[in-house]
Each structure stands twice: as C-alpha cells, then as structure tokens.
C-alpha cells in the first residue's frame, strides 16, 4: 500500500488488553528487525545468516500480527513507539531504525494482517539498501512507495504541513486563477457553436469534422494492432536502452547545433558524461559514447571535427584505463569480447595506456585479451608498446615481448634485444619466441645468442625455436656443436635438442653427420655412445630429407640390437611426419608456464 501521507488510527489492538507483554514482544521484534537489516547489509545473499534473520523477522512479525492485528510503530528521531510505549530507543545515527525512517519524514509505519513473506523480504531489502546508501537520491519513503506493499503502510508528515501552507499562500492560491486575458487583444472570440454541426473554425471542414466524430466514436475501442501495441508499451524498458537514448540525444544535438556556443557546450557535456560514466564503471555506455564521437566526426564541420578529435585524445587518459583495469580485476567474469570492442573504440591514441594495463591486470584472460588486442592494433605503434620493455616488472616486459613477436615486425627487434638481456628466464624465453616469430635474418641471428644462455631451459627453448623455424643461420653453429667432443658432456635432454634442431636445419649435411652419430657402436665406451645414438636416430626422424629415411632404413638393419630397435621406431615416425607434418616442438612448454597469479604469463 502506498504512502498516502496521512496519519491513520491504530486499527488493531489498543494495548490495554495486552499491556506490557505486547510491548515486550514488540521490543524483541525491534531487535530482530535491527539485526536483520544489519545482517542483510553485511553478508552476501548466499550466506545463511541473512536468510535466518529474514525468517526470524517474518515469523516474529506475523506472530505479533496474529495476536494483535495491525501493528503500528510511531517514529521519532530516536524512538519507535508502540502502544504508547517506546520499544526502540537509540541515538539518531544512520544505523538506528528510528532515525533511518525519521530523517526522510516518515512518522508512522504499520504492518497489517495478510503480510506475505515476499513483502517482508522486500521491506528488509529497502531498509538494508537505505542503511548501505543513506545519501541515495531515492530516499526511504520513496523506496517504500515503489514497492507498493499491500500490507505495509508508511505515513509522512509533509502532507499535513504543506497542505496548511497552501491555504495561507494567497499569492499562489488557485482562487486567484482567472481567464480574463482571453481575447483581450484580438477582440472577443466567436466561441459559440453547435455541437451537432461542424464548427466554423479555421481549416475544419464538414468532412473533417465527420472524421473527427468517427474517431471519437472509436475512442474507447482499440484496434487489434493497438491492443498489441498497448501490451508492448506496458513492458518495462531496459535501463540500458533508456541510457543509450540519453547519450544519443546529446549527439543528435551536437550534429544539428546551429551555434558555436551550443556545439562547445555539447562537446564539453559529452566529455563530462564520459568521465562520469567511467567513474560509475558503465563501460557499455562509455563504448556507446565513443562510437558516437567517432560516428559524429564525419558529419560535422571541420572545426567541430578538430574539437571532437581532441576529445578522443583526452578520452585516452591513463586514469580511465586504470579504472577499467580495476573493474576487470573485480569482475573476472566480464565479457572480454565486449571489453575488447570497447578498447577498439578508443583508437590509436590509447595504445600506450592500454599497454600499461598489463602491469595492473590480475587475471590472465584479461591480460591475454589486451595482448591480443595490441598485437592486432599495435602494428603502427611498436615504439609505444616497445617502450614498456624498460618496465621494471618482469611480467610486463614478458607480455610486451610476446606482443612484439605477435606483431612480427622487425621494428620490434631493438626492444627484443633489450629483453633478451633480462634477468628473468621467462622474459628471455618469451623474447626468443618473439624473435622466432619475427623470423627475419637479424631476428634469426639474434636467436643464436640464446644458445649460450646461462640457463639450460632457455638454451633448449632456443634450440626448439631454431629447429621449428629451420633457422639456416644456425647451421654452422649446430654443426659445430654436433661434431664437437663437448657433445658428450652435454645434458642428455639438451643434447637431444641440439641434434633435433640440427636435423631440422641442416638438411642432407646434417643427415650425414647424424648418421655417423647414430650408427657408431664401438666396443669400447659403448655406454657413453648409447644416448648419442638414440638422440641422433630420433633427430633423423624430424628431418625432412629423403636421405634421412634411407639412413634410418639402413640403421634399422643394424646388427646392434639397441640401434636397430630405435631406428625402426624412428623410421616409422619419419613416415608419419611426412603425412602429418613435422611437429612443432615446444608448444607444451608454453602451457606449463601460463599461470593465473601475479601476472605470471
């Protein structure tokens, strides 16, 4: 039931029949009420505690109503009164039930028989919302009105006081209303006319009048189409649709403005709205504003275009992207496709602040989205992105290296050479991957430096990249390594990578050398040679040379059991590779490194 702004009598028990027991019950109820409101405000809806208090509030209240009938509490700034007794007394703070109601002008609140659980819950929601946002534009009296309770009534005082005020305000009283001005300048109006005949006023012919009468005759009836429209009209409009309409109106005004002042005022206002929507994290509307800025540029005069472009530049302020990053951190379920579309609307002015987001985004999917976005849209902004290679945070540098690799332009090389020297292994690994993707001669040469990296894992990754990319510039280095006595001292895993890379890079030259390594089975030092034999055989399976197949075929006939078995397996793999393609090694290496926490991509 709505706020009717009048004060009703107590229609339920008057108290005398129940005396202090009722007041005690009411006092206990108020405590439950207060706790319920606080608990709902404090805990998420999934927590059992709010549900427990909701239940208790409803049960206590309906229990009271069952006994006493209508329950009405009078409200002052510090007290809730029931049956002439103060049953709740608290200092006037925002947490006080009495003050919450009192400060917005409510002087009485009543609960009536028939109260439902749904009403009880909605009532508590209103109170809890009011507690959490005491300065909201919609005060508690208005919130209660919106709920349209059937069994909860609230009364405000405004009606009584303002009503008496009006009686005294002679200057605005309706009693002074008059129509004396009618016809004062133009002489008396010819007003009298007969209803049945068409009136002789201007432009209204008899036929038209008949038409009007016909429509009037139909005034209480709607056509089937109009019936449908009524149903459509009554549907609530999504808030976003309304909000977009507001933004659209701003830009319509901008497109049609006929004075420089109006244009400037409107542009300023669009910027103000942009800032306010950022503050409210309304990224959907921000995207809509950006779309409109871009869409308006072509249809306005050059001078306005300049202003709009300047606006777009200002929109790319770093703080806006910091807000976006904070929001993404708080909303890991956000639709990243939408966010990516938003970033696209910022344009190239925003490349630098968007790159900076990599330093503050907590969740990997968000970071990957930004990387992907920059890889696609940063081709002409490599210097801006590359500048972040000097960032102190290793994960930023790593992601920048990744982006430069995805862009794949040689201009990124200068920055990657810097990251190649980075202390963090993960950065160097990402750098060599990036170099592999750039895959120009200078990039390939830069890759060779990683073969001397201090960490085995980096060297192995470099070998894989070289192998996968068939980096010819590494041929000589790999041949030296494969033919070197030092090979015997290399870790077996790394040795295997060296020979595999050599097989992929070295062609027939490598096959010949690998054949020697694979088939060599001296009596003396046999155990020392077994790992080399096996690594070379596996490496041969990765060669694309037909000659490798012939070599494996021969070695499959070897008298040495171990060589023969491994060679047969390698021969089978070689054939399979010819059908499926030589596998790119090292993909599994990436997956194991991608983690969610702390920017460790």
């Amino acid at each position: 039931m709505a706020d009717n702004d009048f004060i009703a009598h107590e229609t339920g028990a008057t108290g005398s029949a129940f005396g202090s027991d009722a007041a005690t019950e009411a006092r206990d109820f108020c405590l439950t009420w207060e706790r319920a409101v606080k608990t709902i405000g404090l805990y998420p809806p999934t927590n059992p505690l709010p549900a427990e208090f909701r239940e208790k509030f409803f049960n206590t209240l309906t229990g009271l109503i069952d006994i006493l009938g209508r329950i009405a509490f009078s409200v002052t700034d510090t007290k809730l009164g029931f049956l002439d007794t103060a049953v709740y007394d608290k200092d006037p703070t925002d947490e006080s039930l009495a003050f919450m109601l009192f400060r917005d002008g409510i002087c009485q609140i009543a609960f009536e028989p028939g109260l439902t659980r749904d009403e009880s819950d909605r009532f508590l929601n209103v109170m809890a919302d009011s507690l959490s946002s005491p300065n909201s534009r919609v005060d508690i009296a208005n919130r209660l009105w919106y709920e349209a309770f059937d069994h909860i009534r609230h009364y405000t005082l405004d009606r009584i006081v303002e009503g008496t005020y009006l009686e005294m305000a002679d200057d605005t009283s309706l009693q002074t209303a008059h129509l004396d001005f009618i016809g004062a300048e133009d002489g008396p109006l010819e007003m009298e006319r007969v209803v049945e005949a068409p009136p002789p006023y201007e432009g209204m012919q008899k036929e038209r009048m008949e038409y009007v009468v016909k429509v009037f005759g139909d005034v209480t009836r709607l056509s089937p189409e109009e019936h449908e429209e009524i149903v459509f009209i009554a549907r609530p409009e999504p808030a976003t649709v309304s909000e977009q309409l507001g933004v659209d109106i701003l830009f319509e005004i901008l497109r049609t403005a006929d004075s420089p002042r109006l244009i400037e005022e409107t542009i300023t206002l669009t910027e103000k709205q942009f800032r306010e929507q950022v503050a409210a994290n309304r990224w959907d509307l921000i995207r809509f504003i950006l779309e409109n800025w871009h869409g308006t540029v072509p249809v306005v005069p050059a001078s306005v275009q300049r202003q709009l472009k300047a606006t777009l530049v200002r929109a790319a302020d770093t703080k806006n992207f910091e807000s976006l990053a904070d929001w993404l951190n708080d909303n890991p379920q956000a639709d990243l496709d939408d966010v990516r579309a938003l970033l696209e609307h910022f344009g190239t002015f925003a490349i630098s602040p968007i790159t900076a987001m990599l330093g503050v985004l907590n969740h990997r999917p968000s970071r990957m989205m930004v990387c992907s976005f920059l890889a696609e849209h940063g081709r002409d902004a490599i210097d801006l992105i590359g500048g972040f290679i000097y960032d102190k945070r290793w994960f930023v540098v790593r992601n920048v290296a990744k982006i430069l690799g995805e862009i794949g332009r040689e201009r990124g090389l200068a920055f990657l050479k810097k990251s190649a020297q980075h202390d963090d292994r993960r950065v160097r690994v990402e750098t060599l991957r990036a170099l592999g993707k750039i895959n120009t001669a200078p990039a390939r040469l830069a890759l060779l430096d990683f073969l001397n990296d201090k960490e085995k894992e980096v060297r192995m990754r470099a070998l894989r990249t070289i192998g996968n990319g068939a980096v010819q510039e590494a041929h000589e280095t790999l041949a030296d390594l494969a033919g070197s006595e030092a090979l015997f001292n290399v870790d077996p895993d790394e040795m295997r990578e060296i020979l595999q890379a050599y097989a992929q890079v070295g062609g027939d030259t490598a096959v010949a050398q690998l054949e020697k390594l694979a088939g060599h089975a001296p009596w003396l030092g046999r155990r020392r040679w077994v790992p080399i034999n096996q690594a070379a055989l596996r490496a041969l399976s990765l060669s694309t040379s037909q000659h490798a197949y012939e070599v494996l075929g021969r070695l499959a006939q070897s008298s040495d059991q171990e060589i023969r078995d491994v060679a047969r397996a390698a021969e089978a793999r070689w054939l399979k590779n010819q059908i499926d393609g030589v596998p790119k090694l090292g993909d599994e290496f990436d997956e194991e490194e991608e983690t969610e926490e702390s920017g460790d991509d």
């Binding site: 709505a2 706020d3 009717n4 009048f6 004060i7 002052t76 700034d77 006037p92 009192f102 400060r103 002087c107 919609v138 009296a141 208005n142 009105w145 919106y146 349209a148 405004d158 009606r159 006081v161 303002e162 009503g163 005020y165 009006l166 005294m168 605005t172 009283s173 309706l174 209303a177 129509l179 004396d180 001005f181 009618i182 008396p188 007003m191 006319r193 209803v195 049945e196 006023y201 209204m204 429509v215 139909d218 005034v219 209480t220 109009e226 009554a234 609530p236 409009e237 309304s242 909000e243 977009q244 507001g246 701003l250 319509e252 005004i253 497109r255 103000k272 709205q273 306010e276 309304r282």
Partner: protein, 492 residues
C-alpha cells in the same frame, strides 16, 4: 510570471539557518533579559537583519513544527550538522505545544518583540501551555505574527474513508499547489545551481500518482484552471498530471509512471536557459525570438544531462525535453539530422503539452482554444502528429468535453463540465450554473447522449460557449470548495 519564491533551507541554507539561530538566541535572551538590555538588543538586531533579508525576497517567514520536524515555508529541515541547534529549538516548541510561528512581512519590530517575550514567558508547565500562550497573544493583540498549535498527528484527518467532498477537494488542491511550488523551486535551483532535489520531486510525483489513482477527476479540475503569471510552473504540473493519467491507462507500472511524471515536470526546463524577457514577452515573437524558442528542447536535454550522470531516469527526462515538440511525422522542432522513433514518454508529453498550451493561451501562442476544440484539433491531426494509441488514452482521460468546458444544454441552461465520463465521453458530469431563465444556480447533473435510447427528458449538450462572453468564471466552479450560501445563490 512572478520571480518570488519562498526561500527554503535547501535553497538558501545560510539565510534560513541564520534566521532560525537568531530567533532561538533572541527567544533565549528574552527569557533572561529586559527588552532594553544590550544582550537582548544585539540578538534581536541579528534576527531583524535576517528577517529583512528574507522579506526583501518578497515572502513571509513561516516556521512549522510537527511530528518532531521543522518546516520552513513548507520545506522540511534536516537535522544535519548545520542545524545542530534544531533540537534545542524543538524542545522549546514542544514545551509550548507550539506548532507554528508565522511572521508576516507586515509585522512591525515591536510586534516581534512582543511575540518573543510572550514565547519566553509563557509557562510551559501549564496543563495546556499553548492555550495560555494563545491567550497572551490575544491580550497583546500582536499584529503580523501568528501562532498555531501542534497538530495531533494521530488524528485521522486525511483518511479517505472520512473525507468529505470538501476535504477531498482541499486535499487535491493542496497537492496541486505543492506540485506547483516544487516545480517553481526546481526551476530556480536548476537556474541558479544546475541541480534539483530529486527526493522531493519524486515524492510529489508519487503523491500525484496516488491521487490520480484514487480520485483522478478532482485533480483534473485543477488543470482546467490557468494561472497566467505562473503559467510555466502550472503548465508543467498540468502536463505531468495528464501524462500520469495517460500512462495509467497504458498500464505503466509505478516506476515508469514516476519517470514519466518526472519527465513531464522537466519537459520545459530548457526555458530556464532562455532570457526571462523572452519567455514573458507580451508582443508577438519575431523570427529571431523563434530561433531562440526553438532551442529550448535541446537546451532542456543539455541542462538535464549536465545535472548528473545519465541514468535511465535522466535519459527519459532528456527525451521528454528534447522530443516534446517533435511529431511522429518528424515535423515540429528541433531540426534533426535523421528521423528518430520518439520515446513513448515524449509521445505522451507532446500530446499533453499541446493540449495544455492550446487551452492556456500561453504567452507565445497568443491564442486560446476551448478544451473541446483543442481535443478535436488534436484528434484531427492525430494520425500525422501523434501516436494514436496515446491519443485515444488521452481522450479517454479528458473526454470529448474536457473539464472546464462551458456548454449550453438542451433545455437552454448553461453548465460547466466538471468531470469526464469515461464510459461515455459524450455524457460528462456537469454543474449547471445558469438556469434556462438566466438565474444563477449550482446544480450537479450527469448528462445523457442525445441519441441514447430512452433518454427522453435527460439533458445533453447542444453548444459550446465562450465563458468570458457568458460572464462565467470557471474558477468559481472548478477546483474550489464551493460554498453556495457564501456566494448567495440557490442550491437546487
């Protein structure tokens, strides 16, 4: 249009609070000192300065204390950090059971002194302190300063079940006036500070919705009265009332009715940005004037967008402001870059605005149209300019002979339409104000359709009359609380 607006605490906090503080200090001083004591005179001078500053703006000073709240000229004061002395003041009012202190502009300084000493020296321990105070007041005969008791808020004064016809009208009248003052205040705030009191505005819309839901016809009577000086404000209220009534027929829920009502109240807010002289210009507008006038929809939308972040509520209000002079065939103004589908609220407001403007003879239209003729014109242009569903709902609200129409009946008597009959728009309720022989009267009557079978003997409308030509002031019969005996006419 008059510019005077009752100052209120939200509008001018320093002045109002300064005045209240000075009042309290003077009251306390009067309890301790003689009238010629310097301490009293100093506080009294401060009070007088405050009052003068208030009166210079052309209004009285009315302080009301009810239910523990203070109201200044009808606006409730919040007990915030600036009004910490409010509790002390509340105790003084409560002790005397004083509910109202009204210092008029005509009050002489001596009268204010008398009032202060009467307040300070009335014994609050009396069983009925207010009666004692009132007795003193009568004895002293204090001119220009009025007092009133605290109303008993438990009294069921506005229970609909207890409402008489007179109190029902009084209630609607109070609400209508309240809405007008809220609009006036809103315009002033928007002009001065680019903001408005959302809660107060919402609350008045809620009251209008409740009132229309309970008793639409009485409120519609008020829309038939046109107050020229305050036209802009009354016009906004009228459009809001019509719009809400139409929205109800279209099945809008409370939330949407509220936002529709807000949009209607704000639809002309762009005029705040136009020169005041232009709005009140008595002459015909020239082309330059029209260029400016045609900007008010855009200015309205910009003004609203400038108040706060665009949310759904502001957005639809912007639509109402921007689109209310556009027609569905895209005629009207402002000029558009491309056709657009007008928002539902805009379509409703456009129709209500057009009707009220036509029937108000507003400043820049210079033409007054009778309510029934306005309806006919709207219907005639309906399919080109307006949404036909909205139009039908609108006609359903107002009828074919809207409230305020003066008509000749089939027996040659003259009547004022006071209420539409939604079941038969040709047969409204009227008050017969002149008998066939020309004698004045005040006789309620429900008409019949002329072609209603079996209605022989029932009266029906035969002609529409110009009220001024007939010497009839419809304000005497509408939206007032008629007291036949006072006006000296026979009641049939």
């Amino acid at each position: 249009m008059t510019e005077s607006t009752p100052p209120n605490p939200a509008e001018n906090p320093p002045l109002v609070l300064r005045l209240l503080k000075a009042l309290l200090a003077s009251w306390q001083a009067a309890a301790i000192y003689e009238e010629n004591n310097n301490a009293y005179r100093m506080r009294r001078a401060e009070l007088q300065d405050s009052l003068r500053a208030l009166f210079d703006s052309g209004v009285d000073c009315r302080i009301t204390f009810q239910g523990g709240f203070f109201f200044f000229n009808g606006t409730r004061l919040k007990y915030d950090h600036a009004f910490t002395f409010g509790r002390t003041m509340a105790a003084r009012f409560a002790n005397l059971r004083l509910g109202e202190l009204n210092i008029l502009q005509t009050a002489h300084e001596t009268a204010v002194d008398q009032a202060l000493f009467a307040l300070a020296h009335t014994d609050s321990k009396e069983s009925d302190p207010f009666s004692a105070l009132a007795q003193t007041w009568r004895e002293l005969d204090i001119p220009g300063v009025a007092i009133g008791p605290i109303l008993d808020v438990e009294q069921d004064v506005f229970d609909p079940a207890n409402l008489t016809e007179a109190s029902r009208r009084q209630r609607a009248q109070a609400l209508f006036g309240r809405a007008e003052s809220v609009v006036q205040d809103m315009w002033k705030r928007v002009r001065d500070r680019n903001s408005f009191d959302a809660s107060t505005t919402q609350r008045v819309i809620h009251q209008l919705i409740d009132q229309i839901a309970q008793d639409e016809s009485t409120l519609l009577e008020f829309t038939a009265l046109k107050e020229f000086d305050e036209y802009t404000y009354y016009h906004s209220v009228n459009v809001a009332i019509y719009s809400i009534a139409v929205g109800m027929r279209l099945g809008l829920d409370r939330g949407r009715l509220t936002s529709l009502g807000m949009a209607a109240l704000f639809h002309d807010i762009g005029k705040v940005k136009l020169p005041h002289d232009l709005i009140t210009k008595p002459d015909e507008y020239d082309e330059d004037d029209w260029v400016q006038i045609r900007r008010h929809p855009a200015l309205g939308a910009l003004t609203l967008a400038n108040m706060r972040r665009i949310d759904a509520e502001i957005a639809v209000a912007m639509a109402g402001a921007f689109e209310h002079h556009l027609r569905t065939d895209m005629s009207g103004y402002p000029k558009l870059s491309r056709p657009r589908k007008l928002h539902l609220y805009s379509r409703i407001i456009a129709l209500c605005d057009a009707f009220d403007a036509m029937t108000s003879g507003r400043v820049y239209q210079k033409e007054w149209t009778s309510p029934d003729e306005a309806i006919r014109r709207l219907v005639y242009k309906g399919r080109e300019w307006f949404d036909t569903v909205v139009l039908k709902a609108f006609v359903h609200v107002l009828g074919i002979f809207p409230v305020g129409t003066v008509a000749r009946l089939s027996d040659q008597s003259i009547a004022v339409v006071i209420c539409n009959n939604p079941d038969d728009p040709y047969a409204p309720e009227v008050t017969v104000v002149r008998e066939p022989d020309g004698a004045s009267c005040l006789r309620p009557l429900t008409l019949a359709r002329r072609d209603t079978p079996g209605s022989d003997g029932n009266l029906y409308i035969t002609a529409i009359l110009d009220p001024t030509k007939e010497g009839i002031s419809i304000g005497d019969y509408l939206a007032s609380i008629p007291d036949a005996e006072e006006v000296g006419i026979d009641v049939t």
